[in-house]
Amino acid sequence: MEKFILAFIVGGSICVIGQLLMDGLKLTPAHTMVTLVVSGAVLGGFGVYDDLVKFAGAGASVPISSFGNQLVKGALQEAQRTGIIGVLTGIFKITSAGISSAIIFGFLSALLCKPKG
């Protein structure tokens, strides 16, 4: 139960930050999303984000900031294995499941459905 509460609080706080960026700083939805991704990447680069995931579970791994973390993580891992070129080849390694499924399911639903406006 404690896990759920932690996930709710941490995940909710990230969303509150996003909402404040939109309402308070008047950022556009695209800017808000990019800000969260970049923040996640920076935190991931310092190794902080993984601790947050350990602490809050899905509360930290589901929001978009986790995507930034995974980009950096994939790039760093591959860079350690294959050298500097690994930054380029590894960046989408961990996130490829998410990106590919977005493309594939997007394509399938575009085939089958029509937007309703």
Partner: protein
């Protein structure tokens, strides 16, 4: 003939001999649904794209207006139309279908009143015996054009308005039955620095007040000349700001300010609605809603519109039953580093005799 700084007075008083408004599913649930000639339950209208659907809306509005005037499309001498899509394609393709000499216009929200003003000018000056004016908008096509694609599902604050799905058209002629266009005041662009694309009402309100005031100044009349000064496009918040500003600027007594009323065509539980076609319906409203309004007298309370809008600002006057229709316009002019900067202006008040 020019009167004052920015008002045209049409001496021959051109007549709006017919008008038509076609709406989408959202408008069909609105307060003014019964004033539409045709309402569609599907925003696609059986077409392959939203843009083509918008063209269809406009074609239907034009056909209906021509039919109601008892004319054939060969009888129409000029077609003036504008919309919100790039290169005003719905208008251009409708002009292709109609095969009538075409003048494309763009004035965002004010397109319909801009068209009406130009058509009246053509007819009044004797350069045309009649002219068809139209304007259209499609929620999904327009939102994609100047905000976000609707499929993206971007959050909208409560001040955001709703772009109408529909089209309106009217035939202006030298003689006939219907409201007369008596005068038209062309508004200035007033940019008071509001850059929130989700609060168009506030951005447009100063321009609305400026144009309404210019109209009264140029024609040397007071608000009490009219029974009703209706705003629609401003939305609930914009309307309030307009009333407040108007009062502060002009110091007219309250009972005169009260003539500024607010109409809405759409109804939804939350959020504001506005439409930039605002004036689409106006053509019809002039005839339908305002007729019933005139019957009920000025006590009728249209200002219950909690969400917003859609008409232009239209006013039937007391003694001579003048209708007035300033129209507001708003327009997103440029995109600066992804931040929409909005410029708004307000254009053309049109006096109409019922």
């Amino acid at each position: 003939m020019l009167q004052g700084h920015q008002t045209w007075v049409f001496e021959s008083k051109p007549v709006i001999i017919s008008s038509a408004a076609i709406g989408g599913p959202f408008e069909a649930q609105g307060n003014l649904a019964k004033d539409f000639d045709l309402l569609h339950g599907d925003i696609w209208l059986g077409q392959d794209s939203y843009e083509q659907a918008e063209k269809k809306f406009l074609e239907q509005a034009c056909e209906t207006a021509i039919k109601k005037a008892g004319l054939k499309k060969e009888d129409i001498q000029f077609f003036l139309s504008g919309d919100l899509i790039n290169q005003i394609i719905p208008s251009s393709f409708t002009a292709r279908t109609l095969a009538v000499p075409f003048l494309g216009i763009y004035g965002a929200c004010s397109s319909s009143m801009e068209g009406l003003s130009f058509a009246s000018l053509l007819v009044d000056s004797g350069f045309a015996k009649n002219a068809l004016v139209g304007t259209s908008s499609h929620n999904a096509a327009c939102e994609k054009q100047y905000r976000y694609p609707t499929e993206y599902g971007a959050q909208k604050p409560p001040t955001a308005q709703w772009t109408v799905t529909g089209a309106g058209a009217a035939v202006v002629a030298k003689q006939g039955e219907g409201p007369h266009v008596v005068a038209s005041t062309i508004g200035r662009v007033i940019d008071m620095g509001l850059s929130d694309p989700f609060n168009m009402g506030a951005a447009m309100a100063p321009a609305a007040v400026d144009t309404i005031e210019a109209h009264f100044r140029d024609l040397n009349i007071r608000p009490s000349h009219y029974d009703l000064i209706a705003t629609g496009d401003l939305g609930k918040i914009g309307h309030r700001i307009a009333r407040f500003t108007y009062k502060a600027w002009t110091r007219h007594p309250d009972r005169e300010i009260d003539r500024l009323r607010h109409f809405n065509v759409q109804r939804r539980p939350t959020g504001l609605r506005r439409s930039q076609w605002l004036c689409l319906c106006c053509y019809n409203y002039l005839r339908a809603s305002f007729k019933s309004y005139a019957k009920r007298g000025t006590k009728a309370n249209f200002s219950h519109s909690h969400r917003c809008l859609a008409l232009p600002h239209v006013l039937p006057a007391k003694g001579n039953h003048t209708l007035h229709c300033p129209c507001s316009i708003n327009r997103n002019v440029k995109q600066e580093a992804d931040v929409w900067k909005s410029l708004f202006w307000h254009l053309s008040l049109v006096d109409l005799y019922v």
